[in-house]
């Protein structure tokens, strides 16, 4: 089979080459790992997409809501005795610790998101500020939180906290699925389904969709718009907190003051890719971005290519479908 092992562009630059063999042989393991990464993007993307759906605001500080959750995970696990080597715990004790860390991170991120709304965005809304003011405020809030973390914890990443050594669970198409990938993917899907059901099936969720579709008419129905806005930030924050646990699981030494930045941008890109304002779109976009990044990295033989490929694909898809793959759904009228 390996007739074409490496294609080098005939007269192309030597810094770009395609390793088709690796791409083919690692296709399934890349897919599986990409889905695990993508689940993290998807969870964070939910926060961007819901806030956008309700307020047409790109909450750039959402990446910091996420990284604050990662700090919470770090502190909880450190206090529980986790460190640079995997702990020797029974499965039940381990699950208990991780669930505790996740709940604390959800709470912390949720509160930070709500506080952010109160302090940064609500005063602007009261004054009917133009959209640009919100955008600049969002960017400002993002930097403010980032550098507050920097002032508190310094520039270096926190020491790694290893939760467990991934063990192979089963094989699919010759690729191994390990326990870590399974936990991340499974938990993320469950959280997304719960959120989707909340938004589509409950009265409060219906109120949220009503505000997204037509805020004034929603008010005429008796929906308290301010309460819906707080709820939206809270849900986004909670999901970002959950994502933080999985992020630390996958990148144990990734807790750093600016660690949310790139991930936040990718999650935002995932939201746009799936169709901003669309909850299922955030899931689809996140998973796609995770998988495509992995493919690109293997095909081009270097981890630096992950984001290049992911974003080139993003641009390409948006050219064909400017409203994202699934289009906007929480939000705007399509009459």
């Amino acid at each position: 089979m390996p007739v074409i092992s490496t294609i080098v562009l005939a007269q192309g630059p030597d810094w770009i080459q395609f390793d088709v063999e690796a791409f083919v042989s690692q296709f399934w393991s890349n897919t599986i790992d990409g889905l695990a990464y993508g689940s993290i993007y998807a969870l964070v993307a939910m926060g961007y997409t819901m806030v956008y759906g309700v307020l047409q605001l790109i909450n750039f500080a959402h990446s910091e809501v996420f990284i604050v959750g990662a700090y919470a995970v770090f502190f909880v696990l450190s206090a529980l005795g986790f460190g640079p080597s995997a702990p020797n715990l029974s499965v039940a004790a381990l699950v208990g610790d991780l669930v505790l860390a996740m709940l604390v991170a959800m709470l912390v991120s949720g509160l930070v998101a709500v506080a952010l709304e109160r302090v940064a965005y609500r005063p602007l809304r009261r004054r009917n500020a133009p959209r640009l003011a919100f955008l600049i405020t969002a960017i400002g809030a993002s930097f403010a939180i980032q550098y507050a973390l920097f002032a508190w914890r310094g520039a270096n990443p926190e020491p790694a906290v290893i939760m467990f050594r991934p063990k192979p669970v089963f094989e699919i198409f010759g690729a191994t699925i390990d326990s870590q990938q399974l936990v991340i993917f499974g938990a993320a899907i469950v959280l997304m389904i719960i959120t989707d059901m909340f938004v589509n099936r409950t009265r409060l969720g219906r109120g949220l969709r009503a505000v997204a579709q037509d805020p004034d008419t929603a008010t005429l129905m008796g929906v308290n718009k301010e309460r819906v806005i707080v709820l939206t930030f809270l849900i986004g924050g909670i999901l970002a907190g959950a994502a933080a646990l999985f992020y630390v699981m996958k990148v144990p030494a990734g807790v750093q003051f600016n660690g949310g930045f790139i991930l936040g941008i990718k999650a935002f890109a995932a939201a746009v890719l799936g169709g901003i304002g669309n909850i299922r779109g955030a899931l689809l976009g996140g998973l796609l971005l995770g998988v495509i990044g992995n493919y690109g990295q293997t095909l081009l033989g270097n981890a630096q290519w992950t984001d290049v490929v992911a974003f080139v694909v993003l641009v390409g898809i948006l050219m064909i479908r400017p409203t994202g793959i699934l289009g906007e759904s929480l939000g705007r009228a399509r009459v």
Binding site: R203, R206, G207, R209, A210, Q213, D214, D216, T217, A218, T219, L220, M221, G222, V223, N224, K225, S329, L330, A333, R334, V335
Partner: protein, 237 residues
């Protein structure tokens, strides 16, 4: 005591004065209509009553209580329900979900079924389309949905903002017939209309609004017979 009373109500959009001292009353059980040209302040009056726009000065009483500073969503709980200008149907929700939004503040969820039946008997068309997305309905159907949705709140006062706007003549006649029917079932109605002929012939009393001020008031029949009204609003020279 009137169900609704506006006394010298003013409202502004920024520095532009939209309402310049509106005074009107609606008694329990009446159909009252507010007619006037485009930009006269009809919709602003409605929005001030439902609380989407703030009152800058004057008195706004509902059932004897000052509701000027009551939040809009709580006015729905008090019994004011509005079918807004342009209908405001939620495009991404089904007909049933839209109707359920109308009942958003209701605590007596168990009796919703009966109200749903009532809306479907007033508008059989909606029953046929109950699982269809609001955005895919025709203009007339959306208007029916907006009125039906407002009824789902079981309002004491129903505000209808231009229900005939953009509708085909057979729909207009039907909508006005149903407004009378709703009123006969016991709901007080405040109706804003450009279709003065139909509105005046259905209304117990009527007000004429010009540049944010009430310039004339009377029974529907009186205004219908008024030569100045005929000339300005009924297209009769």
């Amino acid at each position: 005591m009137p169900l609704l009373e506006l006394n010298d109500v003013c409202a502004h959009y920024g520095r532009i004065q939209a309402l310049d001292g509106i005074t009107l009353t609606v008694e329990e059980g009446e159909v009252v209509t507010l007619i006037g040209a485009n930009g006269a302040g009809k919709t602003t009056t409605m929005r001030v009553i439902s609380g989407i726009r703030p009152v800058s000065s004057g008195k706004l009483l509902f059932d004897g209580d000052d509701i000027k500073s009551l939040r809009a969503d709580l006015r729905v709980v008090r019994g004011i329900s509005q079918s807004p200008e342009g209908r405001g149907v939620f495009p991404g929700m089904t007909v049933l979900e839209n109707l359920d939004m109308g009942a958003y503040t209701r605590k007596d969820r168990k009796s919703l079924g009966a109200d749903l039946d009532r809306v479907f008997s007033l508008f059989p068309r909606l029953a046929e389309r109950r699982t269809q997305a609001g955005g895919t309905l025709s203009g007339g159907e959306q208007q029916m949905l907006a009125i039906g949705r407002a009824l789902m709140a079981k309002p004491r006062l129903l505000l209808l903002d231009e229900p005939s706007m953009g509708l085909a003549p057979q729909f207009i006649a039907q909508i006005f017939r149903i407004i009378t029917e709703i009123n006969e079932q016991g709901t007080t109605v405040l109706l804003v209309e450009q279709n003065a002929q139909q509105a005046l012939s259905r209304a117990d009393r009527a007000y004429v609004i010009e540049t944010g001020r009430i310039v004339k008031a009377g029974t529907g029949a009186e205004l219908l017979a008024d030569p100045a009204i005929k000339e300005a609003y009924l297209g009769v020279a």
